[in-house]
């Protein structure tokens, strides 16, 4: 997600944002940021509405699992429902 943070104009094919080096740093930066975000749960006092949302790092693991499940389910559904995009003749 961090790759979207900045935009710029530059050379056609060698834009600094798409260099391997930059992407590597973006991954490292994101990893640090995400760890910090989960660690915030140690400081911030949550007021859970139910039981489960009071667990440590709930937003993080719940969001991650939900997305993996959604992508997995979409892929499964795609096996049955995907068709070439000229299927309806247009």
């Amino acid at each position: 997600m961090a790759t979207r943070k900045q935009t710029g104009s530059g050379q056609a094919d060698d834009h600094w944002l798409v260099r391997q080096e930059t992407i590597r740093w973006l991954w490292i930066g994101s990893a640090i940021g995400l760890t910090f975000l989960v660690a915030l749960d140690l400081i911030v006092e949550h007021h859970p509405y139910f039981d489960i949302d009071g667990w440590f790092g709930f937003g993080a693991w719940f969001g991650f699992i939900a997305c993996v499940a959604l992508i997995g389910f979409a892929r499964l559904l795609g096996v049955f429902l995907k068709r070439p995009d000229d299927y309806y003749g247009d």
Binding site: E45, G63, C67, L70, R83
Partner: protein, 562 residues
């Protein structure tokens, strides 16, 4: 009656839309921008409460009734008409602009309608005007436009049948809170739900909207579905099954958008997804949830229009709308990229954007009512929104691979419209009190608490992590995904073809049979009356004279006997 209609805030846009084709193209700028502003002024001049009542065909009509809820929706419709018109200034197709203004005006008329009959009239004007917007895109949109209007006329028939039943049983045309406790009210609800893009017949929306022009879809995204949300809030708050219908729409939108390749169809599925959040809020039905649904409709119109303006700019400048053809556009379209990202963050309810301060209220409504399952599903769906719209749209359009396309940012007016709506997205996110002051119910909700912000950031950023880790599974393919419209686009066609073949075969069989009968008949005719037939052949004179003599003799004998 005529006076009331003339002074309705709907009339500047409707009349303006009808007159627009007479205005020269280079003089269009002023009226296109002034009319929505005039409508906005009229909206805020309206006194709250029931307006004058007019008698029409023995029915009591109330063309204009204003309160906080109707003013909220009318306000955002007028803002949308302004932003949309600014964006579409260089649209050469007058029919589209004209229809779009009528469409916007009719939606304002619909939210001020104080009775069911007035509502129905504006409802149908919207159906026709929006179909005209779809058709304005040319030949490629013709079939989809036909499917679109068919569904909306069907919805209109359901609504009309319901209204007729309601008026017949209650002798009243009033449009107020009701329950789906009779057939006529259930029909009214069904009519509303068709326009909301409810599953299972939501397919009309991703089918038709992405066929509209680069500017047409910006208008289409706003009015029909949100007018439906308004009438649901007004007519059926707290109807429990709407919670489950809404959640089904939420997940339908996410799953189909994940599988989709066309950037504007991704955003169309995402409309169904977002309206699903609102319908869920209506189903929960508490003051908090209804405030959430209403405010989410307000913010959604703005950020969805912004997303579609950004997609429309890409379409106009590149002529392409498939993700598999796009990518890397951030190099030469920096403003479009940034505005698209702001729209994407807003739809994902990122803190400091408008989506954060509206959608949270729906979740809060579920939490207050101790609906654990609903709350958890809404949280999972929030993560899913970031996945399918928040990251997928900007990533595949502006980043991803280098498509070697080097388009520039669009003309000034389109850039101005995007900047205006971006500013609104961030402005509402930073200062929610301006929106909260317009809501129908008093607001006791503080969106920016440490726990809420941290929770939301965790949810979204880890959703982003899942996206990039599973990028291989999200790779775009040149495919579409079958939907319920397969029933009428394929099965229906097959059925028709089969019926055609059956009719053809029956016709051939009957024709052959008749031919045989005719031949047999004419054969017999020929046999008896032909040149050699008993009745047709030449007789010899002698035998004729013999038979004549015999008959005359018999006659003589008989006359003697008598």
């Amino acid at each position: 009656m005529v006076t009331e209609l003339l002074f309705s805030p709907a009339s500047p846009l409707i009349l303006g839309g009808l007159v627009l084709p007479l205005v020269r193209v280079n003089l269009r700028l002023a009226p296109l921008l002034a009319l929505p502003v005039l409508a906005l002024l009229m909206i805020w001049q309206l006194p709250d409460g029931p307006g004058p009542v007019a008698d029409f065909l023995g029915l009591q009509l109330q063309p204009v009734r204003a309160d906080a809820l109707s003013k909220l929706f009318a306000t955002v419709f007028a803002i949308m008409a302004f932003g949309g018109a600014l964006f579409a200034l260089n649209q050469r197709n007058t029919q589209e602009l004209s229809a779009a203004l009528v469409y916007a005006g009719a939606s304002i008329g619909a939210v001020f309608a104080g009775d069911l009959v007035t509502l129905f009239i504006y409802w149908e004007v919207m159906a026709i005007a929006s179909s005209m917007v779809v058709w304005s895109a040319g030949a490629a949109a013709r079939a989809a436009g036909l499917r679109y209007i068919s569904i909306h006329l069907l919805g209109g028939v359901l609504l009309m049948a319901g209204i007729a039943g309601e008026v017949a049983t209650t002798r009243s045309t009033a449009f107020d809170r009701m329950q789906p406790d009779s057939i006529s009210r259930a029909l009214i609800l069904a009519g509303f739900l068709v326009n909301a893009g409810t599953v299972p017949i939501s397919a009309w929306l991703p089918d038709a909207y992405p066929r509209a022009s680069w500017s047409g879809m910006v208008f289409l995204s706003a009015f029909t579905t949100k007018t439906a949300v308004y009438v649901l809030i007004r007519g059926f708050p707290g109807t429990e099954f709407l919670v489950w219908i809404g959640l089904a729409m939420v997940f339908y939108g996410i799953i189909y958008a994940i599988l989709e390749n066309d950037m504007r169809r991704i955003l169309a599925y995402s409309i169904v997804n977002q309206v699903g959040f609102m319908v869920t809020g209506v189903g929960i039905g508490t003051e908090m949830a209804l405030n959430g649904a209403a405010s989410h409709a307000f913010t959604h119109i703005i950020y969805k229009a912004l997303l579609l303006m950004s997609a429309g700019s890409v379409l106009l400048m590149t002529g392409k709308q498939k993700c598999s053809d796009l990518g890397g556009l951030f190099r030469t379209m920096p403003l479009t990229t940034v505005c698209g990202i702001i729209g994407a963050l807003s739809i994902s309810s990122f803190p400091l954007t408008s989506g954060f301060i509206s959608k949270s209220m729906i979740s809060q409504g579920a939490a207050d009512e101790h609906m654990a399952t609903v709350w958890l599903l809404l949280a999972a769906a929030s993560a899913g929104v970031f996945l399918h719209a928040g990251i997928k749209f900007p990533w595949f359009v502006f980043f991803q691979k280098d498509s070697r396309l080097r388009p520039h940012d669009p003309p000034w007016n389109m850039r101005a419209a995007m900047v205006l709506f971006s500013a609104l997205c961030i402005g509402l996110g930073i200062a929610p009190s301006y929106l909260y002051a317009l809501l129908p119910n008093p607001v006791e909700f503080v969106p920016y608490t440490a726990t809420h912000v941290v929770f939301q950031l965790q949810l979204l950023l880890f959703s982003g992590l899942a996206f990039f880790l599973m990028l291989g599974w999200l790779k775009r393919t040149l495919t579409i995904t079958l939907d319920v419209d397969w029933v009428w686009r394929k099965a229906g066609v097959w059925l028709l073809a089969a019926a055609d073949r059956a009719a053809d075969a029956t016709g051939k069989f009957v024709a052959q049979w008749m031919l045989l009968a005719a031949r047999t008949f004419s054969g017999r005719l020929f046999e008896h009356h032909g040149p050699e037939g008993v009745f047709g052949r030449t007789w010899r004179t002698g035998s004729m004279a013999f038979w004549m003599t015999l008959m005359l003799g018999a006659y003589l004998l008989l006359s003697y006997a008598a």
